[in-house]
Each structure stands twice: as structure tokens, then as C-alpha cells.
Amino acid sequence: MGCQHLDEYYELYLLGTVSEGACHDIREHLERECPYCVEHLREAAHSIYLLTMTARTARLDPKQKAQLLKRLRKK
């Protein structure tokens, strides 16, 4: 099957907003590295990236980084 029926759904797929039907088709196309879907998903990811970047930055707790590095060394 072609991919044109998926055209509208790439952004909503990335957001996890659409029905399982469309998700399943896109996932299947990705499994076989469909060039059309890869290209369109990458473009959709641009929009999702920019949408998420509208959130503000937050101050970090230094204890969190120390804890992260401790966990990382155990890996």
C-alpha cells in the first residue's frame, strides 16, 4: 500500500494522539524504513520539536545531577 493515506497523520502520530489504525500503519512503514514515511516523519518532528520548545526552562537541582552520575557509573 502507498503512503499518501498517512499524509495527514505524521505529527499526530508523534504526539500519540491518533487512533491505533493510523499508528499501526506508520509503525509498519517505519519497520521497513519506507523512505516516504521517514522523510515525512522527520518533517513532522520539526513541528513537534518547536511546539515542545514553547515551554520555559527550569532551574536544576545539583543533587539530581550527582544522583544521575552515580546511576550512570553503575551502568
Binding site: 509503525r27 520539536y49 515542545t52 550512570l72
Partner: protein, 194 residues
């Protein structure tokens, strides 16, 4: 002589070679933005910090693959963080059955993630993009924000807004079409400016 600051991708490549200092620097650079996003999605700081650690542990584990695939670190981290936060939110809402580990299938394949040069261009146009979002009709913007930051499905958005599902779906699709169209124009403007 001034030395140029390493890019996030250079830091990741060094982290892939198990340079903890480089990972440290990458964390300091990227984590404030990621935590801001997680705090917007998740109900409290403790949960957001827990997911933040998960995200960076995953970055450490997958550093080699991301480097090999030439993935934009900013985009990879941001998309991973959002997906993990939404999964966690769904579990917190007692919807564990529906939280089917979306974050992992989504980032199981890296070849579709944006390239560093693409994200560099987009970062230079963030303000313009904010204006684009503000041009959306209010109901579309509201539905889109519920999808992005509350992790709701189209059915849940319809329930929350008390609107028919078909109306919400067509609104979301219209919003996406508008953003795509405007983003293409924004990127053309960028190209014209340089």
C-alpha cells in the same frame, strides 16, 4: 585565541566514547530546557526529575547509536523526554493499560529523527514559530496544547472540551496543516535571508 564551544553532537560523540565530562557538559546545557518541558507536562517536580534522569540515562546508553545516525541531540532529547513524560502521565492517571510504552517504539528507530543542521535552522526561527502558533484559532490551539502538553488522545480531548470527536479531529488536522504550511514558509524566509 578563543576556542569554540563544542556542539551538542560533539559532546554526545565524546560521551559515546565514555567521556563523563562531556556528558556532564551536555547535561548542564540541555537539562534546564528538558526539565522545563517535563514540569509543563507532569504534575509535580519529583516526577519530572525522575523522568529527567531516565531521559539522560537513555542518552548515555544510546549515545553511540545517536552519533552513528547523525541525530540532532536537541531534537532527540526533546522528543524522547516528551514521549517518556506522556507515558508516565498516563500511568499516573491510572491508564497503565493504555500506556503501551509509546516512548520506546517511537524512538526505537532513529533514522527519522531530525539532523543537527535542520534543528539549527529551526532554533533560529523559534520566535517566528511562536507567532505562527498564536495565529491558530483558539479552539485549535487549545486542542493542540492538550495533545502536546497533556498527552491526551483525540478522544480524550473531545471529552475534555465537550466537543464531538469529528470536530476535534478535523480541528487538529487543520492545525497541523496550518503549521506545516507556515513552517515551510518560515524556512523559505530563512533560506532567503542567508
Amino acid at each position: 585565541m578563543m576556542t569554540q564551544e563544542p556542539t551538542a553532537e560533539e559532546l554526545l560523540a565524546r560521551a559515546a566514547a565514555r567521556d563523563e565530562g562531556a556528558f556532564n557538559e551536555l547535561y548542564d546545557r540541555a537539562a534546564p530546557g528538558v526539565l522545563g518541558l517535563l514540569l509543563r507536562i507532569l504534575p509535580n517536580r519529583a516526577l519530572a526529575e525522575e523522568v529527567l534522569q531516565d531521559v539522560f540515562l537513555r542518552v548515555w546508553s544510546d549515545a553511540r547509536r545517536w552519533t552513528k545516525e547523525n541525530v540532532s541531540v536537541a531534537a532527540g532529547i526533546t522528543l524522547l523526554a516528551r514521549a517518556k513524560a506522556v507515558d508516565r502521565l498516563r500511568i499516573e492517571r491510572n491508564l497503565a493499560a493504555r500506556a503501551t510504552g509509546k516512548a520506546d517504539p517511537l524512538l526505537k528507530f532513529y533514522f527519522w529523527l531530525p539532523r543537527p543542521a535542520e534543528i539549527q535552522l529551526l532554533d533560529g526561527r523559534r520566535e517566528l514559530f511562536r507567532k505562527v502558533i498564536n495565529q491558530l484559532p483558539k479552539p485549535q490551539r487549545q486542542a493542540l496544547e492538550l495533545a502536546v502538553f497533556d498527552g491526551l488522545t483525540e478522544t480524550e480531548i473531545a471529552q475534555k472540551l465537550g466537543e464531538p470527536l469529528a470536530k476535534v479531529r478535523s480541528g487538529l488536522l487543520a492545525a497541523v496543516r496550518f503549521i506545516r504550511h507556515r513552517l515551510a514558509a518560515v524556512m523559505r524566509t530563512w533560506a532567503a535571508n542567508i
